[in-house]
């Protein structure tokens, strides 16, 4: 099975139908091959909004197959399954008859068609439920009319409308009639307690395709006549091309063209390997206007700017200086993290076909709309002449929020006038920038004689980080005198959002520092946090972003689950963090074997409101913990004259199976509208690990990667 692009033809038909009908509901036209092009389908748009603003839709074929189009890029967050579950729940569909397809970019029909910020579920929750509930109501009405009974005597179950007399009709039988009805408004939604599909551990709808190796990903897109491109980019950040000798590459077998644009030299060939081989024959000389930065320079920049940098005040409560003067005890510590790459397993790639009629873009992107706009701006082609199809993404972690590789593909196609697939090598990806920024934090706390925090300060110095703080997060609101300052330094090393931006490192630093404070204050770290929350509730200082009761609950639940402080020969570290509107508390457990600390388990208690899919939710939490732990332990890029020393997985250490702790993931599942889960379980992990490590060894690890620090390495 070669993936071919078939959706647009159907989409055009679909839109024509929409225009003809001109309303929210219409007799549709199958745009899904598998449903058969001649079948009548019921199409339901979100009833509150005219054309734009809905986030998915469903169709029901004669045979009862319910097809749900998922507009958001899928990169492993399991959105396709979760979206479909939400629609199917309110529709009372038979889950075994539900199919999910990826919708192409269509800003007229979908909104927020992107993957990022753990935002898809909260954004779409009500929209998807309303779509399902609306269709269900219309199907009931269609059945009631056919039977000549009041709709109030009908109910639905598992893909059927049932009447109290025992009559029964399948959704497929009713779809055509229902499609002619007016779209009802103000549809009631189900009560949380009545959910049958939402919350269940329903398996990923794509499992079968994945385990049988179907071509789902961008790199798997092939089309006859397409050519293959690779790019030689400057090896160092800040370097630019001085001269390029391309003759040997051009003469290499299979090479069709070598083109230079911006600071790139692209080799185009008949196959991937021929392109990769020829790239090695390029002789490109580079030069730089300024000295190229090394990691040793970054250390000096951090130290200098921490004291002398132009700081921006992000939050100020009370009189911090006075409180520090009056303190019985003062604590100060600095934490630091390096640049790290995202390293999704599928390297960057995109297909582009630039012709006089328009542009076709196909590939793995978290931001199809922004990619289209960038290509439109670059090639001066109106956006309505550009289509974007979204393939499955072999991981994202934020890397594919940037669309540089899609723009490169379009540019190459426009230069060589052929359909082209651009492929980044692993080395291209790891050395190509868009990293998590490197940051250093300085925390200071002032305690009174009873060990209460009377003042708290944090200053962050980031390299291309902008604001390295979350100033209204815990413990803001619980401390009278509070100062949050950020300094940004601009460097040529490019950065981007990395799973749980800012908090992926800030949370570790802060939660570890709070552990230091608890020790200095002679308090239990869990109890100290609970006391701070109590303080924030009773006598709040300034505005806060987090919900005190929800944070309190995850803390208490985690402590109870892990048996906080009650285990013998097990060293526990605590951490809690609020991000992306969700709350996650973690307790890391370590044991000491032959004098060495060994991680054994991490308990995670998450409050993301309603758990949409128990299996997927656990996956997100377990994966985020492995990610957070792995990068805290091992992740680093070291720069020498602008060039990262780590270029592939031989020198860049990613966590492997034998290194993971056991994870106990549980949820509060309190019926509150769901919030994100793709990111929130990552930020607390580093802190929980560092705090357990301190208990086990007496060594406080204030710098990532941990593996380069004592107790793992002599300092």
């Amino acid at each position: 099975m070669i993936m071919n692009k078939t959706l647009h033809q159907g989409r055009r038909n679909f839109l024509r139908q929409a225009t003809l009908a001109g309303g929210g509901l219409f007799l549709g036209f199958s745009w899904f091959e598998e449903a058969g092009a001649t079948e009548q389908m019921l199409q339901v748009l979100h009833p509150d909004i005219d054309v734009t603003g809905f986030n998915s839709y469903l169709s029901i074929a004669k045979d009862g197959i319910v097809t749900i189009a998922s507009p958001n890029p899928e990169l492993g967050q399991n959105i396709r399954t979760s979206f479909a579950q939400i629609v199917a729940e309110e529709l009372d569909a038979n889950w075994s008859k539900v199919k999910v397809v990826q919708a192409p970019l269509d800003t007229k029909r979908f909104d927020r068609q992107l993957t990022g910020g753990s935002g898809a579920i909260p954004h779409s929750w009500k929209r998807l439920r309303t779509a399902g509930a609306t269709a269900r109501q219309m199907l009931m009405q269609a059945a009631a009319t056919q039977w000549g009974v009041p709709v109030s005597e009908c109910k639905t179950e598992n893909g059927f409308v049932l009447h109290s007399s025992g009559k029964k009709l399948g959704y497929g039988e009713l779809a055509a009639t229902a499609s002619k009805l007016e779209v009802p408004k103000d549809i009631a939604l189900k009560d949380f307690k009545d959910f049958k599909i939402i919350g269940k551990p329903i398996r990923n709808v794509e499992n079968r395709n994945i385990v049988t190796g179907k071509p789902l990903f961008g790199l798997d897109f092939y089309r006859d006549g397409m050519v293959y491109a690779v790019i030689q980019r400057p090896p160092a950040f800040g370097a630019k091309i001085k001269s390029a000798s391309v003759d040997a590459a051009k003469a290499s077998p299979g090479v069709l063209d070598v083109v230079t644009f911006n600071n790139n030299v692209a080799v185009v060939a008949k196959s991937t390997w021929e392109a990769m081989k020829a790239k090695k024959l390029l002789k490109v000389e580079y030069e730089a206007d300024k000295a190229l930065e090394s990691s040793t320079d970054h250390e000096k920049i951090f130290t200098d700017l921490m004291d002398n940098g132009q700081a921006q005040t992000k939050r100020k409560d009370g009189d911090v200086d006075a409180a520090f003067k009056n303190a019985a005890k003062v604590l100060k510590a600095e934490y630091q993290c390096p640049f790290i790459p995202h390293n999704p397993m599928e390297p960057m790639n995109f297909f582009a076909d630039v012709t006089e009629d328009g542009i076709e873009l196909i590939g793995p992107t978290q931001t199809p709309q922004a990619a289209r706009k960038a290509v439109s701006d670059l090639l001066k082609v109106p956006e309505d002449k550009i289509t974007v199809d979204i393939t499955r993404l072999g991981g994202g972690f934020g890397r594919r929020l940037k669309f540089d590789y899609a723009v490169e593909a379009a540019q190459i196609s426009s230069l060589i006038k052929k359909p082209v697939k651009l492929i980044w090598s692993r080395e291209d990806d790891m050395t190509g920038g868009s990293y998590r920024p490197a940051v250093r934090y300085r925390f200071e706390a002032a305690l009174d004689a009873s060990g209460n925090i009377i003042a708290y300060k944090c200053k962050g110095v980031g390299l291309n980080e902008g604001n390295s703080l979350r100033q209204d997060n815990f413990p803001a609101g619980a401390v009278d005198n509070y100062l949050m300052e950020t300094v940004n330094h601009v460097t040529p090393i490019t950065v981007g959002a990395w799973r749980a931006p800012v908090t992926n490192f800030l949370a570790y630093a802060e939660q570890s520092f709070l552990d230091e404070v608890a020790e200095a204050a002679g308090k239990d770290p869990v109890q100290m946090r609970l006391d701070l929350l109590k303080r924030a509730k009773e006598k709040p200082v300034g505005a806060i972003k987090y919900d005190i009761a929800r944070m309190d609950t995850v803390i208490r639940t985690a402590a109870e689950k892990a048996g906080w402080g009650k285990k013998k020969d097990v060293f526990q570290g605590f951490s809690v963090y609020f991000s992306h509107a969700s709350y996650v508390a973690q307790i890391c457990e370590m044991v000491v074997k032959n004098g060495k600390p060994e991680i054994s388990k991490i308990y995670a208690v998450s409050d993301c409101g309603v758990v949409v899919n128990e299996s997927g939710a656990k996956q997100q939490v377990m994966g985020a913990i492995v990610d957070g732990y792995g990068h805290a332990m091992f992740g680093k890029l070291v720069f020498k004259a602008g060039e990262p020393e780590q270029k592939n997985f031989d020198r860049y250490r990613l966590i492997r199976m034998s290194e993971i702790p056991d994870v106990d993931a549980s949820f509060i599942n309190n019926g509150i509208d769901p919030t994100g889960l793709g990111e929130p379980a990552l930020p607390p992990t580093g802190g929980a690990v560092a705090n357990a490590l301190y208990k086990a060894t007496g060594v406080r690890v204030r710098k990532q990667p941990f593996v380069d620090q004592p107790p793992f390495k002599k300092g």
């Binding site: 551990p201 196959s271 996956q619 990610d627």
Partner: protein, 153 residues
Amino acid sequence: MPVYTLSVNGKGLKVDVAEDTPLLWVLRDHLRLLGTKYGCGVGQCGACTVHMNGSAMRSCLLPISSVGAAKITTIEGLSANGDHPVQKAWEEVDVPQCGYCQSGQIMTAAAFLKQVPKPTMEQIKSAMNGNICRCGAYHRIREAVQVASTKTK
């Protein structure tokens, strides 16, 4: 360029490629067997794992000239209907997140279970340690290998 006759998934297939072309790119670009993935190109991640005469092998480092008459099996040929015990276990345990590394994981697991049908957890961890899953689905991968071992006769 030389013509090579390969035995892939039980079929004899001819390809005309340079002798240093890695099997990975022959499978993908020339035979359009796209289940075998490119991840690192240096044998470190395992996304490109196939079977060569029944043993797990990194196809990204294997030049076509050294394949000879060896029997190559890719994820597409692991079972006729996607019902190999490892594939079934992967579905049952709901392993995939992004899914990109999973064909390599499955091929590694299938070759391993053939050699060690009833492995301990320590053996599983050691056998699977060469395959990176960036999503961190390791807990379920190891569970699925264990489940598969109960399905294997």
